[in-house]
């Protein structure tokens, strides 16, 4: 495993996001995160740290999402559903 030292910088300071009122990212089955997923890689491979682990489940800060498209593919259990945000919402580069 790599070096987990986390930096203090918050790149979201330079990102414009128009958040929708509802999430476009979902965990399909919380049970898989608890019982099968040991490393919870979504908590580190996401470039803006949308995912974090708390109270026995993955929490999703969808308003941080910059739509890189990695999360549904990076999850080793195919347990993340990601949809395009509705038209006009989400990141604006």
């Amino acid at each position: 495993m790599g070096n987990f030292a986390k930096s203090d910088t918050n790149p979201l300071e330079y990102v414009k996001i128009i958040p929708d009122s509802k999430s476009h990212i979902f965990i399909k089955d919380d049970g898989i995160c608890i019982e099968e997923c040991e490393n919870k890689p979504c908590t580190y491979y996401c470039p803006t740290r949308v995912f974090y682990w708390e109270d026995d489940s993955i929490k999703i800060l969808y308003k941080r999402c910059i739509e890189c498209g990695a999360c549904p593919f990076g999850c080793p259990y195919d347990n993340i559903a990601w949809e395009n945000p509705r038209g006009g919402y989400g990141v604006v580069y």
Binding site: M1, T9, Y14, A70, N84
Partner: protein, 438 residues
Amino acid sequence: MGNDRYDVVVVGAGPAGSSAALLMANNNLSVAMLERGPYPGSKNMSGGTIASMPFQEILPEYWNIDGIPLERKIVSDELWMLDNDSAVKMGFSGKKFGYAPYNKFSILRYKFDKWYADQAVAAGAKLFNNCLAIDLVYHKTGLLSKKVDGVVLEGGDIIHADLVVLAEGSSAALTQKIGLRQRLNPADMTLYVKEVLELPSGKIEERFSLEGDEGAVIGMVGYPTSPAIGKGGIWTNKDSLSIVVGAYLNQIVNKGLNPLQLMERFKSHPMIKKLIEGAKPIKYLAHTIPKGGFKKIPTLVDDGVIVVGDAAEMISGRRGIDLAMITGKFAAEAAAQACALDDYSRETLSSYVKRIKGSFFYENMRKGKNVEEYFNTYQDSDFLITKAMNDLAFKYFKQDLENNKIRLRKMIEELKNMQPLQKTGKDLLYGLQNWEVW
């Protein structure tokens, strides 16, 4: 907009979609182009250069067109093999690339894509921003057969069209939904993060040895993404620098890497730090690139539908934008033929597939297949070769007190201690094929 009918609806207004829309509109087809963001380019990130020759196939002498947001003409292209505090540098700087027809230009996608889509609009295409297509609609053509006949927008409106061009980019939701593209594995894609750093143009020219609107691109391997196989890079815009770093997604996941942390680490390398000193971050971007290559190319056409650009996995090495443009052009040619025949069946549209199979990049992708397999088998090859080159160069350039014969023997000895020479040679060979492109 509900229940409108067009000859063609293009899903996505990036380089592939705008190329297709522009050329189709030039051919007098009625075209609707859908962009899910507030404007084209608002969701896009890329390696940041457009190649002159392919772009000229669509817009001859594009550099003379009013208002085109080109950043700098690239006259210097380098590859650095980075170790912790050193680099072996290779590259080419050529004033030849500073004159028309040029070689490539740096661009910023949030400016360029918007401008490019406007060219399609000027040609007669209709652009709908903030417009997300969520499904396709079909039209029965026989007892058991059907053809795509348009798209469904969120909210339920339908735009009908004889032909749908899927130019939806890397994530390709619709292409997957209708079963043309199989699900990708994390080994089939790379994940990149990028920052745009503001720096006065004078400083850029000084630091990169440039004059006026000349630009430089530096690709980097080794340190930026170690221990994963990936690349870093830095290139010059008018008054900003773009810096990227990224690697194969499966390796990021399996090796516990955080992309933002890779970026921070990359920026703190002594040789990078110097280049970006005092530059102010103004953008942070992230995107995946489909790297499934030859074996993951989706089904490219079906009745009433064509897939182009990243959605079609048209990536060969570091070439993506120009391939997107060319596939957009091929799609426009196939559409013109289909319109003339008034037949949008898979058979007619397969002229698009023929054009792709005859292209230079298809051959490159076919060959590139082995390179991808190699790097998935030998995930340490990038590290080994970078290390070896830096150690060798260090010894080579060091002024010591030994005679040349002993020096050479020691250098070879050291190489052999690392791994068999044959394997090092192979790593280098595959490495060069992989780095050739960005």
